[in-house]
Each structure stands twice: as structure tokens, then as C-alpha cells.
């Protein structure tokens, strides 16, 4: 599946709304990619908080598999309970990450 590409809000902050399509459902995963002004994703890691709504009702993430496959990307994949489902709406709030604890 190609990544789903969105643009940065202000250089380090990101917000995206995405409705799952059948191809995502079939693949069992979706990767949200945040770009700057060009075509590659931003050049740094991010952290993301994701909520999913189905017909306006919260869908618990349960055992969804959430990973960060590369800079600027977050991937949500099927668990055994949580499934990437057509027409579910994903709301992602993300931020450039400091991944080195001092």
C-alpha cells in the first residue's frame, strides 16, 4: 500500500484526518506520512496520537499495532481485535519527537 501523505502544519506539528478505503482494509494497515514542502517525508522522527471513529463513535485501539517505520511516518495495523476497517475515520495528532531521554 502506498503511504497516505499529508503536510506539516507548522514545521514540527501535524494534524491529519483520513478515511480508510477498501485497499487499506484489505492490506490490514495504513501508513500516514507527513511531508514538509517537498515530496519526501520530514527528516526526523515523530510521535503520534491516534483516535478512530466509526459513524462518530470512538473505536478503542485495543491491540492495534502501531509503529514508526521511518522518519515522518506512523503505521497502524490490524491486531486480533482491532481491525483497519473501510470508512473508519482516523484522526492523527503528531509532533516532532525527541527520542533521547536525558
Amino acid at each position: 500500500m502506498p503511504n497516505r501523505i499529508f503536510r506539516v502544519t507548522n514545521g514540527v506539528s501535524f494534524g491529519a484526518k483520513y478515511t480508510i478505503v477498501a485497499a487499506d482494509d484489505t492490506a490490514g494497515n495504513v501508513t500516514i506520512q507527513f511531508n514538509g514542502t517537498g515530496t519526501p517525508s520530514v527528516a526526523y522522527p515523530i510521535v503520534a496520537s491516534i483516535s478512530v471513529l466509526r459513524a462518530g463513535v470512538n473505536v478503542p485501539l485495543a491491540d492495534a499495532v502501531i509503529t514508526y517505520p521511518s522518519n515522518g511516518c506512523v503505521k497502524i495495523a490490524d491486531g486480533s481485535t482491532f481491525l483497519v476497517t473501510t470508512n473508519d475515520v482516523y484522526y492523527i495528532v503528531a509532533q516532532r519527537a525527541d527520542i533521547t531521554a536525558e
Binding site: R4, I5, F6, R7, T9, N10, S13, F14, G15, A16, K17, Y18, N35, S49, I50, S51, L53, A55, G56, V57, N58, P60, Y91, I92, V93, A94
Partner: protein, 205 residues
Amino acid sequence: MANKIFRATNGVSFGAMYTAVAADASVVGSAEVLTITVTTGASASGNVGVTLRGGTIVNIAVLSTDTTPAQVATKIAGGTYPAYNATVNGAVVTFTCKTTGVKSGTNSTTVNATGVVVSAYTVVAGVGAGSIAFQFNGVGSIPVPYPIVANIRVVTAANVNVDLADAVISYPSNGVVTISSGATFTVTAGYIFSVVAQRVDSIVE
């Protein structure tokens, strides 16, 4: 309940913390109201199909003699809609949802070859029972003029996480996110709501 107003952190990023009060928990829900106006009557017999919120199409038989908008509107209002009650006033048909809260899905009217013309749907959104609307303003008194996405976390007064379960979350207008009670999740006085929001890019490339 009035919206709970918070301010932008840096123009596009938002954070809010709010402790629910009894008035939030006791918000009485209201039903969604949909309205259409028939602007041209029928010139041929056939079906006018009405689909509310993506449900099953309800076919209304009109006749070539239903030449006025009011005649057609009356027939549309006479249909049986599982989730809505329909009434008519002249050429205007009003569909009132049988349950409270925000609804989603597409509304459409299929006129086929009847010659009937119907307006687009106007929507007055419902409100869920037990509800808090978080409104993010810029520097003025109105919400920011763009859509947002938000992630909401809830803890009890003792700081224990509360599963959102079937909470109803909606974005009724720019800069506003609303959370309402579901069958399991209940907006409760004393719960502490943490909201992190962001201006949204909703057009995937």
C-alpha cells in the same frame, strides 16, 4: 451548555484541560433535523428515492398528476423512515431523528425521470446526552477558522484512566470538538478531560 473556550497555543496547536461539572453531565440530548424543499412537482409518474444517513433507500411513488411541490412533499413525508419521523409544511419536508446525538452518513434524493426537483439537505446537528464542546479560539472571540483534529484522554478525579469506549466524538464546526456520552462511556462530573488538538490536513495526496 455553552462551549468551553480555550486559546491557541501557537496558532495551530492546542492543548486544553477541563474538569467536567454537573451541568456537562446533565446536558439533554437533541435530535438531528434534516430538511429538504421540493421546488418542482412531478411531470411523470415514477419513484423518488430518499436516503437518510446512508440507510436503505425509501422509494416514494409519485404520479404525473402530482404537479405541485406541495403534493410531492406530502408524499415524501408519508414515507416510512426507520430512523426518522417525517413531517411536511407546504413544500418543505422535515426529518427528525428518533434518537439524539450527531449522525453521520450521506443524505441523498434520487428523482429518477419524474421531473421532480428537490433542494439539497439542510442539517441541524443533534447533540448527545452528556456532552462537552471544546472550542479553540485564536485571539478573538470566535473559533479558529479551520478544521482541527483532536485526541482526548480522560481520567477520574483520582487520576485513573477512563476508557473512551463508545464515546461519541464529533467536529461540529471549525475549531470545535465535542465529546458525548455513549452507552458505556459517560460524561461524568469530576472527570478530567485532556485535549490535544491540531490544525488538520484532511486532503490526502
